[in-house]
């Protein structure tokens, strides 16, 4: 079995404009997704908006530089993730296609097996 990280990207501006009903619906869809795929989900969280992010880059010299904001500025920001386990990419994609993605989409990445 291989672990895959499903990264959920969303347009934060669109999300911020969602009504309370729409947000409740999205939460409900995630809860349903979590139940349906309980046996393969190994973890997952929603993240606070990119406006709350802090980035750290090495330098100057041996120190580090801390900046306000996400590592890379993009229209669609990382908004959450699921960690799942699957036999192969086809299986992982079958699960990933069911992640609720009202304001964006997902990216599926295999986790590097270090064992």
């Amino acid at each position: 079995m291989t672990q895959y990280l499903i990264l959920i990207y969303a347009d934060e501006a669109a999300w911020a404009g969602a009504t309370p009903d729409e947000n409740a619906q999205l939460l409900k869809e995630h809860a349903e997704f979590g139940q349906r795929h309980e046996s393969v989900i190994r973890g997952g969280n929603a993240l606070q908006s990119a406006a709350t992010a802090t980035s750290i880059r090495p330098g100057p010299a041996d120190g580090s530089t801390v900046t306000d904001g996400p590592f890379a500025e993009t229209k669609e920001a990382l908004g959450g993730y699921y960690l799942i386990e699957a036999a192969d990419l086809d299986e992982a994609l079958a699960v990933a296609k069911q992640v609720p993605t009202r304001f964006g989409g997902v990216e599926v990445r295999p986790v590097w097996d270090m064992t």
């Binding site: 291989t2 036999a87 192969d88 990419l89 086809d90 992982a92 994609l93 990445r109 295999p110 590097w112």
Partner: protein
């Protein structure tokens, strides 16, 4: 040592016919594409040296597979840890080497068509001698000379070509990567040959192929035939790759020659192979028919000087009647039952052209009708463009131009040279010379193919100043 010409010819023939079979069966043992390719290349090299003294085996594919698999097992054992840079390919658990190579897993058996030339399509038996971890396979140096078709054991080499096909054409790979992998892994072209086919540097192509293989291994694209429920979509992805290959060969986007005959031939080989493996699939039949019916006109498409000859001016006596007959029979089969697929429809259109005694006698109304059905089945701006051209011949250039102009706003056709070239032709026939001149000039800016450029420049010249 130089191989005897008959041996060299037999090896070359086996390379063309059996490469995919040998590689696919070897991948099952190595579960590593690079290692399998290395072993298969090695087996072909050994054949050149060995067949001269042992004679050409009755079933070259089986001989090559045995040698390649034995070499693979040997290298894996010798080098078990160093090779684990990338994870092994995912196959059905029952197929892992050493566990008795039970044949194709669920969903696969039912799909495999008639036996291939190289061996029985499926066998229920246990491991072949090449894949059992017996002492014979450790003697790498002597393995080639000791590899003989061993009767029953050889008969059990499974036909894994479909697995290889579906892995190469997995929808999570880019089209560029799918096409490159198909040429490399299914047709056995070298990276340099694939690079030449697509007019990119060998370095670029090597990087593209390496990246695709890395994704297959690291993201775990499975080495298997997809389940029946996913099959139509996955077969369509495979057919799209073969069709793209043919289209690239049919009208090369750049270069000196109009056609890349090598690519056209390779795609015909692949279509034939798929038709052998998935004989019941009407779209597979349709694609083979389409390629045959289009390729039948190949020799008439250029004149002695390499100049492009339009369908309207082609010498129909130079069309390949054998290909037309074979293609026409396949079209009827592909259209036989159920709603027609896109390739069957495109093949039907090609058949109407091929069976017309002359350009003037072409049944344009039927062609427009077929394009209408195709548009419903497969709406695309390029199909709409072809339909508009057919309308121009069915109802006159004015009607065709009206339909073409309706497509001018389509973003997918922005920069598509055939739209400008078609407009230019209709405008010329309507006597609207100034507009025709502009359209030809635009079309010239949009193709890098030397034969097409020469054709457009000649038409522009004929319009006068």
């Amino acid at each position: 040592m130089t191989a005897h010409p008959a041996v060299a010819a037999a090896v070359a023939d086996a390379h063309r016919r059996e490469w995919a079979f040998v590689l696919a069966a070897t991948v099952r043992v190595t579960r590593d594409l690079d290692l399998a390719e290395e072993c298969v290349q090695d087996a072909y090299a050994r054949a050149l040296g060995t067949w001269g003294s042992t004679g050409i085996p009755g079933r070259p594919g089986a001989w090559l597979t045995t040698v390649a698999r034995r070499r693979g097992l040997d290298l894996l054992r010798r080098d078990a840890t160093a090779r684990r840079v990338l994870p092994l390919l995912v196959t059905d658990p029952a197929l892992a080497p050493g566990t008795g190579l039970a044949d194709d897993g669920p969903g696969a058996c039912a799909l495999i068509g008639p036996a291939s030339s190289a061996g029985p399509a499926s066998s229920a038996g246990p491991a072949s001698s090449a894949s059992s971890a017996g002492p014979a396979s450790s003697a790498a140096a002597s393995s080639a000379s000791s590899a003989r078709p061993a009767g029953t054991a050889e008969a059990q080499i499974p036909d894994d070509r479909l697995r290889l096909v579906f892995t190469c054409c997995h929808p999570t790979l880019s089209n560029d990567a799918q096409v490159a992998l198909a040429l490399r892994l299914l047709c056995g072209l070298s990276t340099a040959e694939v690079a030449r086919a697509f007019l990119v540097s060998e370095k670029t192509m090597a990087a593209r192929i390496t990246r695709a293989k890395k994704k297959i291994a690291a993201a775990r694209i499975p080495y298997r035939v997809p389940p029946v429920a996913e099959l139509p979509e996955r077969v369509d992805a495979v057919l799209t790759v073969v069709h793209l290959l043919y289209s690239t060969g049919y009208a090369a986007p750049a270069g000196d020659e109009l056609m890349r005959t090598d690519l056209a031939e390779r795609s015909l080989d692949l279509a034939r192979m798929l038709h052998g493996l998935l004989a019941g699939d009407h779209e597979v039949t349709g694609l083979l028919a389409l390629i045959l019916l289009t390729d039948a006109r190949r020799d008439a498409r250029v004149d002695g000087a390499g100049r492009l000859v339009l369908l309207s001016e082609q010498d129909r006596a130079r069309w390949d009647t054998a290909k037309i007959a074979e293609g026409a029979a396949l079209v009827r089969e592909a259209l036989g039952t159920g709603p027609p697929g896109r390739f069957a429809l495109m093949a039907a259109i090609a058949a109407v052209h091929d069976e017309a005694p002359s350009f003037a006698d072409t049944d344009w109304a039927q062609i427009v009708g077929l394009y209408d059905v195709l548009m419903r089945r497969w709406p695309s701006p390029v199909v709409a463009l072809n339909r508009a051209v057919a309308v121009g011949f069915a109802d006159g250039p004015g009607a065709g131009l009206t339909d073409l102009d309706a497509l001018a706003e389509s973003p997918e056709l922005a920069g598509y040279g055939y739209l400008s070239a078609s407009r230019a032709d209709f405008l010329r026939r309507l006597g609207r010379t100034d507009e025709a001149r502009l359209a030809y000039q635009e079309a010239l800016l949009l193709t890098e193919n030397a034969a097409e450029r020469a054709f457009l420049a000649a038409r522009l010249d004929q319009l006068g100043p």
